[in-house]
Amino acid sequence: MHIKTSTQGLLIYSAMVLYLSAMAMAWLRRPGVSRRLFFLGFLAAGASILYRWVHTGHVPMQNLFEVFLWLGMLVYPISLASNTLIGIQGTQADLVLGLLTLFPAGFVFSDQPQALPPALQSPFFIPHVASYMISYVLMAKAGFWAIVQLYGSSTQWRTAAEKATYLLICAGLPFMTLGLLLGSMWGHYAWGDWWGWDPKELWSLACWLVYVLYLHIRPSALKAYPRLNAVMALIGLAFIVVTLLWVNLSRLFPGLHSYAT
């Protein structure tokens, strides 16, 4: 457990406290205050990223600390966009997601800045990582609605949750696809190989294929096995967790992406 006493740490903890306060206000049925606190939490997380950016001298997307910082910040704009563009609510779930993603940045991973190695100095670096991060937040939201679909109290709730899961996967999969393909293009220019069969690449492909499979089986499974869709969305989310955490942190999967830790 790393408790950060630096400005960086204080900004992260401020964002966490604001997200937590926003959750408390939502439970106390004060949605206006909750929304404002959520926005302030987003600003604190954004300030933390900006501070990191200035401190390291490059876009902070290099390691898991920086990735989790971004995930915690992205929750707010993605929550807002999914609410306005596809009418999906669930601010409290978004706040939980924000807290869960900021926790590793605040308490688990070291914030020691590192120089950007030559392999990461690529025009593909930012779009590849950014696409993946946006898709991960959207798929995590989809995972939440899949749980609601599985354990929802009424048929109406379950049907709405199924549609929300589907729409969030529709929004997230193109980002995931761009992330995957941009990563492959990057590999081509950095190592001369589109595909290196590296553990991280393989888990990413497996993850993408699970969502592709979801889209293939959804129309036919909707009537006969409606819960199968939710299970597929949760398998996809489990694969994301494996790709993001287990592959990077475990010594079981050595490969080209080990610098991401």
Binding site: A115, A160, A171, P174, W186, Y189, G192, D198, P199, A206
Partner: protein, 337 residues
Amino acid sequence: MMSVRDTRTLVWWAGLIGLGLIIILCICGAFLGAQRTRVIVNSLPAAICWLGLLGLMALAPVSVPSLRASPALLLLHIGPCLVLAGGIYGSAAAHRLRYLLTGQQKAPTGHLILLEADQQDQYHDPDGRPFRLPFAIRLVRFQILYYPGQVLVQTSTGRLLRLPAVPGRSYEVDKTGIEILRTFERFRVATGQDGNRVYDDPNGEPNPAVEVRIIDPDGTANQTFLFDRYPQWHGTDGRIHLAYTRPIKDFVSHVEVIDQGRTVMAKAIEVNKPLHYRGYWLLQASYGLDPQTRRTYSVLAVVSDSGQWPVFIGYACISIGMIWRLWIKRILIQGGP
């Protein structure tokens, strides 16, 4: 005789099973490691499976009318076909087959070692077999670019800090003061009558170093030199340990391409900035110092570009199809739930 409906169902189920099998292959491959997975996916049984998958995906738009009716869905199914076709065409097996059929000698991957000021047109595949490029490469100069130096500090609790090695700066870590006094690019020691003198030798070999003063909590001060080339921790009674490092920013091979005796191109090959010429990609892979001649050499990876265009176009098809089908049609046009 199978009906159209039966064929469609068969293609549908075969496609789903195919997707499921690739997911399982990916998971198993992740545990096996990249090297073993590469051997498996390039084996003959795997090649048959890839061709079968290619045929199945090509058959999907033919047998399922809704795929033909939707341009986005069509792109989404043509894209992976092109990627697979490009991958198969660029594979080691396809290169071997082309050699048997046309006599074209081209390894899919290999490496080329170039000493500074030398030129070379021969490269070796991973098994050490020599191949010839249709042009030659001359290494004009090899360069390593560094970030500014950093003093690494390890505390007694195992915490690792990186402090910029800027002369004149002072830091305090665990009540121990660290002052950066001088940095050297080519550190040398001259021995004279009045003792040893350290200096930066403009003509010497690179030997980056930093001189630091460590002030213990009781006020005792010690000066020491930390070297990038000899990484070791300098201790202060077990409280903190120091080392010096200069992280590498980039490797650059300044090369010239010589085709039929003429210099046709000059280029700086860097990581992420390869050279593409006459069907080959040349990428910065490694470097070293020849122990006999004391000359720097650069190692360039040589990669055949066979099959790259179908892959590029396939990626574009998948991306456009995804955005069209899911964002534009499903979210922007059809809207929310």
